[in-house]
């Protein structure tokens, strides 16, 4: 009972209201309604081309960097539509950080990789301490502590990805977006990153795109299943839509939609 009231108290931190995203005239995903709860890990799953990465990038306006990409509808964060003309995308990205598919450390030292983001965000405290705590939170401190001045490239792929997570944590965002963060990593690194995510959950809201359904099952509280259907006019193009959104348990144990059932049991996708 107590657990239940606690769940009810979780507030929506980010809401998509009737969001459609297009690249030029090609509609990638349409009519998405979705509420992300603060403190949850939400995973977005679905077959390739269903627009889940597109939706993820829309959440901190990374899609702005892709020419021709346009969005209809509203994305409410902290009570503000982040697609309002008055909104500064740089500020949005400071509060909603992102970790990418390929580890992409800066060509700088490990220390600088962490310090860069904090410094440009006006951090004035103890930088050494911030670097250490960020690396600790991302579970990569023990591997890095003796070579903070080495290049970020000197780390292995999995370590680089955790460095990138540490870099994102260092700017103290409210939400961390992860776009298939483990797709370029081996199972052991993947496991470490998943452990990291469980740690991070205490302080951050995490939204993750993954192709690995076991991963979604392992890490997330909520799961959104995206699917793609062919256009009604039937010219072969596909448009993505949100097929089902529920707690991870329900999605994997008793999905309401037939397509969800088929996807998670590996019948297509």
């Amino acid at each position: 009972m107590i657990k239940n009231t606690k769940k009810l108290q979780k507030k929506n931190i980010l809401s998509l209201e009737d969001v459609s995203i297009s690249y030029g005239t090609f509609e990638a995903v349409k009519n998405v309604f979705l509420n992300f709860k603060a403190g949850d890990i939400t995973s977005l799953i679905g077959p390739s081309g269903c627009g889940k990465s597109t939706v993820l990038r829309a959440l901190n306006r990374m899609n702005d960097l892709i020419p021709n990409c346009s969005l209809k509808g509203t994305v409410l964060f902290d009570g503000t539509n982040i697609y309002d003309k008055r909104v500064d995308p740089v500020e949005v990205r400071r509060r909603i950080g992102m970790v990418f598919q390929q580890p992409n450390p800066f060509p700088k030292s490990i220390y600088e990789n962490i310090a860069f983001g904090a410094r440009i965000n006006g951090f004035t405290g103890d930088m050494d301490q911030l670097v250490e705590s960020s690396l600790r939170k991302a579970a990569v401190w023990s591997e890095c502590k003796d070579k903070l001045n080495d290049s970020g490239y000197s780390l292995s792929g999995g370590q680089q990805q955790r460095l990138c997570i540490a870099r994102t944590i260092a700017i103290e965002p409210e939400i961390i977006l992860m776009d298939e963060p483990c797709s370029a990593l081996d199972p052991i690194s993947t496991l470490k990153i998943e452990e990291t995510m469980h740690e991070l959950k205490k302080n951050y809201t995490i939204i993750i795109v993954t192709h690995n359904m076991q991963q979604a099952l392992r890490v997330s509280d909520m799961t959104a299943f995206f699917n793609a259907i062919e256009y009604e006019d039937g010219d072969g193009g596909k448009v993505g839509y949100l097929a089902e959104f529920n707690s991870t348990k329900k999605i994997f144990n008793s999905p309401k939609e037939k397509t969800t059932q088929e996807y998670i049991s590996g019948k297509f996708g």
């Binding site: 740089v90 990418f100 390929q102 992409n104 060509p107 860069f116 000197s154």
Partner: protein
């Protein structure tokens, strides 16, 4: 059934051999002029090198006079190229940043890119005539006519396309993931470019700038119209507003003199010009290799 072993006499193998040698032959012919020019200048000019060359003024042409040195021309080339760099590097790098980072491939950036390509193909003498008409004949620079400053401006026009193009190309080679990484943690465009993209592309930009400088340093035609020539030492800042000597124009002037002493001086100047341009080119390659090593520790 044909044998699997290589057969020399097979017509396709004969033709193949023939074309291999033909292309090798053409490649050799292509490199010959460079070898001949450099060797000839090294032999003819190398013999004239002595310490006085670097310290003395050239003597006016005349019978049995010692030719003197090329100090003013040497310093003049350095000064004029520096002026050209001061003008063209900021403008060129800035323009390149706009093209690669800010413009979204619209008509304006297409126009600029096209313009830069056209500018790169403009004969150098046109740059000289243009600055002559704009600066020299109008006496717009505090009443001075031919000046080192005007020479530097003419050369900057020649350097500009190289610098813009290499900056543009260099920035385009920076992987987008790096930009996303920086923007994804809330960096502004400006910080991203200044702290991440530009340092990453530094190698190719620096190479382009150095090549631009090397090209400009050897130009003669634009300087004849703008900096003209001077026999006298450059003594101070004020000399920027007067005629200024340069190695290239010295070679042009003295090679045409009927006196042997001046001709020898021209050879010596050629030697120094070729050596310094070669050095700069080689330095840019070393710089490139060096920065690449440090970047990927």
């Amino acid at each position: 059934m044909n044998s699997l072993y290589y057969q020399k006499k097979l017509s396709r193998n004969v033709v193949d051999k023939f074309f291999t040698f033909l292309s090798l032959f053409c490649a050799l012919i292509a490199i010959l002029p460079l070898i001949f020019v450099v060797t000839y200048i090294l032999i003819k000019g190398g013999a004239q090198i002595n310490p006085d060359l670097f310290t003395l003024e050239p003597n006016p042409p005349g019978d049995d006079l010692d030719a003197g040195g090329i100090n003013p021309a040497l310093i003049g080339t350095l000064v004029i190229t520096t002026i050209a760099s001061i003008i063209s590097i900021p403008v060129g790098v800035g323009g390149g940043i706009y093209l690669a980072e800010y413009s979204k491939g619209g008509p304006f950036s297409k126009f600029v890119r096209f313009g830069v390509n056209v500018l790169a193909g403009v004969p150098s003498i046109i740059a000289g005539v243009f600055i002559y008409a704009l600066i020299v004949s109008t006496k717009i620079l505090f009443g001075s006519m031919y000046s080192g400053l005007a020479g530097g401006m003419a050369l900057s026009i020649l350097m500009l396309p190289t610098v813009i193009k290499t900056t543009d190309e260099g920035l385009k080679l920076v992987p987008n993931e790096l930009r996303y990484a920086s923007l994804g943690i809330g960096a502004s465009m400006y910080t991203t470019i200044l702290k991440i993209t530009l340092p990453t592309a530094f190698r190719s930009i620096a190479t382009g700038v150095v090549l631009g400088i090397a090209r400009a340093a050897g130009e003669t035609a634009p300087l004849i119209f703008t900096a003209l020539f001077s026999y006298y030492y450059i003594t101070g800042f004020g000399d920027l507003f007067y005629e200024m000597g340069s190695l290239a124009v010295l070679i042009y002037n003295f090679a045409l003199e009927p006196y042997d002493a001046q001709n020898k001086l021209a050879w010596a100047a050629s030697f120094i010009l070729v050596i310094s341009i070669l050095t700069v080119n080689i330095l840019s390659r070393i710089l490139a290799a060096f920065t690449e090593k440090t970047k990927r520790v």
